[in-house]
Point group: D2
Chain length 331, copies 4
């Protein structure tokens, strides 16, 4: 029973169908009808003018978005645990031509205006210091926690006041929306660009970068090609994205993953390291306890020396989650 990650889950049958149907579509790159439908589809979803590019990975989505906000001599404020800092193999340094990540701290891998100010306020506006150009937060956070709309609004206000671009890494944005029960626009806050994750939620290899102004989107198109991320058969990526939105598949999938995580979380009680608001469960578990679970057939990652991370996906069998919950309860 697999709780390693949602990042390798199977592709959803409706995504497969949509991809097969794209065989018939023709013009290359993003000139096909499916790619051209993205802007309108996301504009509807967010109730706000949206300009959308597909890319094959979350790392590319994040870095192309940030490249429209941060000059090579600037910096991006993010949480110390942010994916862009901790898991992307230095990709921001590459895409941003040497710009700096400026690390802030905060509970549950979330930032607050105060945490951001603690990083940027001491920065003297002098050429010896790298200046902040952008702010990036992750929704849901790397600790599986979700920003409330008011929290994002406050961060966005700070970003606006200080002239920072505002990016949301939404690798698990669907899980955040499912948890909040709010609109996508509320869950994204007043950001300039959102990496709208699809892959961890049932797609194969398509994420959507949603820009809320046409200028940044236009810039990202040049950078996408230059980074080797413009696929000639891009229609197969657009098909994935559209299939995920169709009939709210993205929300249904996220709700299923969240529900499985909630079931596990309920069994963990005081063992929980963070509130479980998405599809990740971080649990204090000693080595012997982890061994015991593994002996029962559960696969998951250690999280430091005394904890474990369990991740559910759109297709995690409910009975697997229930069984894991019971197994943890029995420890």
């Amino acid at each position: 029973m697999l709780f390693l990650s949602d990042n390798a889950a199977a592709v959803h049958p409706r995504v497969w169908e949509a991809m097969r149907a794209a065989d018939e579509v023709q013009p290359p790159y993003d000139n096909d009808a499916l790619s051209r439908a993205l802007d309108e589809r996301f504009t509807d979803l967010f109730g706000r003018e949206a300009h959308v590019l597909w890319v094959a990975t979350g790392t590319a989505a994040n870095c192309l978005a940030l490249a429209t906000m941060c000059a090579p001599h600037g910096g991006v404020v993010c949480h110390r645990a942010a994916h862009i800092e901790a898991d992307e193999g230095g990709a921001p340094g590459f895409f941003l031509h040497g710009a700096k990540l400026m690390l802030a701290d905060g509970a549950d891998a979330k930032l607050t205006p105060d945490a951001v100010r603690a990083v940027i306020d001491p920065i003297v506006p002098d050429v010896h210091w790298v200046q902040p150009h952008a702010l990036s937060v992750t929704q849901a956070s790397e600790a599986g926690c979700v920003y409330r709309p008011a929290e994002l609004a406050a961060l966005g206000a700070l970003a606006g006041e200080r002239g920072l671009g505002f990016h949301v890494d939404g690798a698990r944005f669907a899980n955040a929306v499912a948890h909040l029960g709010c609109t996508p626009a509320e869950a994204a806050g007043p950001c300039d660009a959102l990496s709208f994750g699809m892959i961890k939620n049932g797609a194969m290899n398509a994420e959507a970068i949603v820009f809320f102004d046409s200028e940044r989107a236009a810039l990202a198109r040049w950078r996408r090609k230059r980074a080797g991320h413009l696929q000639s058969k891009g229609r197969y990526l657009a098909a994935q994205v559209l299939a995920m939105l169709e009939g709210d598949l993205w929300l249904d999938n996220a709700r299923a993953a969240n529900a499985a995580a909630a079931e596990i979380a309920d069994a963990c009680g005081a063992r929980l390291m963070h509130p479980v608001e998405a599809n990740e469960v971080f649990v204090h578990l000693g080595p012997a306890e982890r061994d015991a679970l593994r002996a029962q057939g559960y696969a998951f990652y250690d999280w430091g020396a005394d904890a474990a991370r369990f991740v559910t996906a759109w297709n995690t069998p409910a009975e697997d989650a229930r069984a894991l919950a019971k197994a943890i309860g029995r420890l």
Copy 2:
């Protein structure tokens, strides 16, 4: 009837099957069984130790390969018509951190040792001059022509003598092998890395970078992640590559495309701009002639003011090629 390009052709049914079957495979990135099978599969194919990475585009394949050969302060010798110079939106400048493309000339978009020497011999070994670090050729060339094994051997010898890495952009490598009727190893020559194209030949979004030493491959793995090109569900890319090799599908597809091109070429006579050795046909055609063909339903690109390019694909209907040949013959 479409002769615009092979870059947006449908995915071959056997590739689809292999991708669907990959739903069951699990570990992420390139830790899955399919990705792990690539080295052996290509080692067999080339009769030479091969280390293979999948990537989603030819641009990424070329640039990641070159990044293992050329330092940021170096240069890559290539033909003026090379894809890396003319069609990749400056991607080599990005992946190579500002290295320079050094443009050589040659008939049929092919390089010769003399053409390479004409570029590199005048370069004084002094810090004021960018020094050549690598040589890149395209097989089949951007003019649809094919390097003979002896030609590649001579270029490889020159590269070795001058300490240049040797890269082959094989976006249409299959068409070259099909034309030559030789082994893949002969058609690749003594190169250090080959971008083995699959997408134009029936895959969806997977190319193989074939390295012939483990060190360059290891370096490329770091760079691939850093460029946002390491997909978490990489098994779907490995599946495409393996399906293309299975039962020589890659060769069958290329032969079909080449045959269709040959049929068109036969009708063109003195109109041909280059020998037709792969699946591209460059034809002198005036504006009125092009209009006449388009009025009959043929779609293709203009090639300058007085010519047209026709590209066939693995799935170009034989009757379409025949009809086009007749239409050209009638002009």
Copy 3:
């Protein structure tokens, strides 16, 4: 008798005096009184709002100027013989983060609007093509020839029309002004930034980057520090620049160098490869002729197989120039 280059000539006594006097000045970087005087001094000189940074080399001046005009995914149109293309060891690739130099041709190493159009007009506004962002010309050109004000106006008009930044590499700007007998503003044309050369004309290691808007200058200040070009004792560079301007020393020095070159040129007749309008003389001379001159004690560079380049400096003895002229006349 040295005619190798003007780039290693001794420092002018008045520059030395000004540097010594700067010992007393105090605040670091460019916060000292000398550095702060530059903007006003150049605003007076050009009759146009100027914002000025010192840097230690012409390569840094050119590349920092261009970095304010050309994004990493863009291109800079320049002559094939331009210093930035041919002599700066790939520095533009570094400072511009991989942007492309787009090479144009033209007699006497000068560009015309037609030559620029020949490069940029075929560029399709599509992500597969690198787009031009800036235009750079050299005044005086690498062939020792000088743009007339009307020529620069025409190039500037084209740049404006196409949205290109306009940069002038003025490594030998003083020689151009001396030749034209016009104002510095006329000799610089409607450019956005001028690398105003001092080093070849009697300074030690200070060039001035003259920006004509405050925004580009502000950007260049960040980039200068980031490139390690902000010296803590910058006052010694400012002192050089101010000394060169004081009492028109820059013009006097350039006139002396130009006069020496003119004397040599007069003896060359049909041997001249280019009009001699600055301080460089390019002369058709066979190997035996060059040997003969060297045997008489003249040092100079070969220029290809059948020519030589003679460069005069601010301190070239008039008798040396006269002697060389006679020696060439006797050949």
Copy 4:
């Protein structure tokens, strides 16, 4: 009385003399006799094969040195207070093409093997994590403290074991040697490259990058030109460096600065934040105390809210230091 920094102090008379004498020297760049003498001079000084490049700033020295050790996808371990992290405007990100600085902690701005291990041991050797490629320490440290030879040996051993390049930022290396009373080789430890600071110690704008292998030095020469740091009249920089070494001027100057700092330190007692081992004195002083000192004519920087930094230079008048010491004593 100025205690702001040593970075803007006047140029030493013997440096001036050497520079003036260089007027007569001729070949450009680093082909002159003075530049060519550097390798031997430093080989003698260190008793170890040395290859030396001049550059105009410490930032350039550090970054060019590190560029020979750290690939664009790698990282450099340094102290959180290191100049490369805190004061160089993001220059390492530029020169290293996006490589990452990995911040370690340690008392007195010094690193220990344990502190380095705390940073690098958790790094999984996997492409998602940036890997350490180099280690950089500052001698004397940013807190004015000095590494003992044994401390450097231990750090060098760790670097060797983990395959890290080892760089010493010696902006105040002379002060460290003066304090230790050991050989330069001992004070530099088993490093691969040393930025040997001259500017803060009486030179104008020349630092020496000392490489202890020819390969790194050769690489740095390409990179120096590419960064616009190869001056055509480089002999004036070489002259500064040689003058500083001549007759141990560098040591005499550093001893003078250290002595002045020691005098101040003696008056500070428990107010001292760090041992005073070079020419910087960090002192706990409240706002009113700082005001009082400033009212008496002392210029210095605040160091956070409750402290001040006093820096002495080669030319700090002994009476000024004595007067400051007394003034602090009276507080």
